[in-house]
Symmetry: C2
Subunit: 419 residues, 2 copies
């Protein structure tokens, strides 16, 4: 087989460890220079491929690439852009082939979630449908942990650790103040459809550290009366309570709880979060003093408190993607396989992309307690290993020393293409 | 001098390192057992003294007390409760003396901010006015960094580090996504009157890490047009922008920007934060996609990312408080003195409480740039040493291993007292 170049792109919302996967891809490719030429990264994801805006990662030093392992977010830029079906948009796929041909690209590594798995699957079929030889390997990434088949998704362990640590710390704070001040703290976390991130908030408490925590999952229809009853009983027992609410929680009417039609004094619509909505319910229903927080990007970018397990798995799927390519595989995704629960052992397996694309994994009902406000033992056993271990980034002047790459552009060879 | 017991209490909003001060007080007192008997802590602050709800810290192991150094929030409980003047409320002061007498307390260590310094000063005058010999030493604590005289306040360095790290991480995230998605990220931080915490957001960027950051200080009257112009120019130059907004920012009318009279669909008043208000301005004024976060308690409880400098200073003021007491001092506060800027060197000095109580230290105008949206070199030189160094807590199962004390009650000797 002739030596081919590789294309790598980051897709969708970024994570604390997606760059660790990039690191795994690039370092592994560099160890196989006899078979893989250069790794070109798409600037801003797949858009970089379509617009022939490629980054030559060979211009980056070994130290800079190594530093990706401890740098959060997308070092080459990511994007929210979903390719349509081949029938609907043949021009885009033809363009991809033109760019791949022009730059002698034979490997396509796509680092993303469910939508990206679908795009990757379509690209993998290009050789059949448009006659261009390409091996497309999907590298799993999502904070939401909603990809099927893989035991967990790189990116999730770190956001889970961030949320668990934050809820533990905030709960200690509220416990201190509850006698005369705040009694309920509400933290809004990500998860529009699946409650994995909210579930991680429950890890803040354990056998040694007894903390009153109420979780609101998107999988459970919100019942205001039951919720206020639960908060009330927690506050009566502990003196305070922390609430972790998933951004995607819906009421019995199927509408997002955050969608309260807020208007300012001039009648302008205001986009609010779900945390203040829940906090206001606590105030109106129970007359308790509250505080609320919204973690937003802080949670998924928090490389400073990343899970060492997550970092290792993110690197491993990047490395495995290149190794699968070298074995001639196409339309596959390296995945995390849980070999043993206690002690926790994992390895990398291989999933067929057609089984991954466009499927969402929700919290199983037996991971949530009967009453809908907490996680079960089974869920805890699943989650705990994923947040274990610390791999702190290097610090300089009090701050994590994250790398910003040179991102040198590959000279263009083709005419411009309008997206 | 006869051997006396000591009273220690935590006051007001807690911090990531107030327990490190408690650790300094208790460990130092334990090293002087010949002169200081037991350290009794007030359960829930000064309320514990008034209600004779005392905690016997001598029941805690050396390991548990040592663990306070790495545990956030108030291990004995804090409170928001300000003693009135002696003339207005003689009964409360008389009660304090009764409790002190009953438990042979000769030292009063009060760990708090400006209001607490005032309370501490009043207690220090009890020996003169009510004839009871007590030495009152204030131990400085506040995330707001608004105490006068001391170079900085224990508690501030850690919240500053949290905010700087978070803004750096979130900015990396937004930078990745800006091409097709979020272009402006707004983070709300604490600081109702003083902008020190917001200022720390500017540290996210430095000579090596160029990030577009706009700061909104409570000291600078908010000008919507200028603000939107600044964000617009940042987004044009960098493709994105992060905004750090202090909760206390006020408009030209002197009203809090967060006070927008929000109503839900039923016309109920909603308590919102300032971050969504600012984010909505960006959307309406510039039509840019945004995200916003509210750090709330997460910022001040984040012991996992505490500044080593801050931890050391928090411990040092606790230790110094006991040493000052042993030297016979009264109505004083150990403070942080900056001996040298480069290299940063500090030592502990002594302030007279009458010069500290009820005074707030705002950001000097020359710490804020002319345009009002950034910090000056002078401010940066002041702030950087305060966030330097990491002193990570021990971790267990992926989470910081914080201590929850036994908090054994001292048997009561007096009749109940109604607050």
């Amino acid at each position: 087989m002739a030596k081919k170049n590789a294309f790598y792109a980051q897709s969708g919302g970024v994570t604390a460890v997606i760059n660790a996967s990039a690191c795994g891809v690039i370092e592994t490719a560099r160890r196989h220079r006899s078979r893989i030429g250069k790794v070109f990264a798409g600037r801003n994801g797949i858009i970089g491929a379509l617009t022939e805006d490629l980054i030559d990662t060979s211009k980056e030093s070994a130290a800079a690439i190594a530093a990706l392992r401890h740098t959060p977010a997308g070092a080459f830029g990511s994007c929210r852009f979903k390719l349509k079906g081949l029938e609907e948009n043949r021009a885009q796929y033809q363009r991809l082939i033109d760019v791949f041909k022009a730059h002698e690209i034979g490997y396509f590594f796509y680092n993303g979630g469910g939508d990206s798995a679908d795009t990757c699957l379509k690209v993998s079929q290009l050789s059949e449908t448009l006659g261009y030889p390409i091996q497309a390997i999907h590298v799993p990434k999502t904070v939401d942990n909603d990809l099927p088949i893989t035991d967990c998704c790189p990116g999730f362990g770190s956001v889970a650790k961030y949320v668990a640590v934050s809820v533990r710390e905030a709960s200690f704070d509220v416990a201190s103040m509850a006698k005369t001040s705040t009694k309920v703290f509400v933290l809004e976390v990500m998860g529009r459809h699946a409650g994995w991130i909210a579930a991680a908030g429950a890890l803040a408490a354990d056998a040694k550290t007894d903390l009153p925590i109420v979780i609101l999952f998107p999988e459970i229809s919100f019942d205001k009366t039951k919720f206020l009853d639960r908060v009330d009983s927690m506050v009566k027992k502990y003196g305070y309570c922390s609430v972790v609410v998933s951004e995607g929680v819906k009421g019995g009417d199927g509408k997002f709880l955050s969608d309260q039609g807020l208007r300012d004094a001039f009648g302008h619509a205001q986009l609010g979060g779900v945390a203040p909505v829940v906090a206001n319910m606590v105030r109106e229903g129970l007359n308790l003093k509250f505080h609320w927080g919204v973690a937003d990007y802080l949670q998924r970018a928090a490389r400073h408190i990343a899970s060492a397990t997550d970092v290792a798995q993110a690197y491993a799927v990047g490395k495995a993607a290149v190794e699968l390519a070298l074995k001639g595989k196409n339309a596959v995704m390296p995945m995390v396989v849980r070999k043993s629960q206690k002690p926790y052992k994992w390895t990398i397996g291989v999933a067929e992309l057609k089984n991954v694309a466009n499927k969402e994994k929700f919290m199983p009902r037996d991971f949530i307690t009967e009453d809908g406000f907490q996680i079960t033992r089974k869920c805890r056993d699943y989650l705990v290993p994923l947040i274990r271990g610390e791999e702190f980034p290097p610090f300089k002047n009090g701050l994590p020393d994250y790398v910003i790459l040179e991102n040198v552009a590959v000279p263009k060879k083709l005419p411009a293409f309008v997206l």
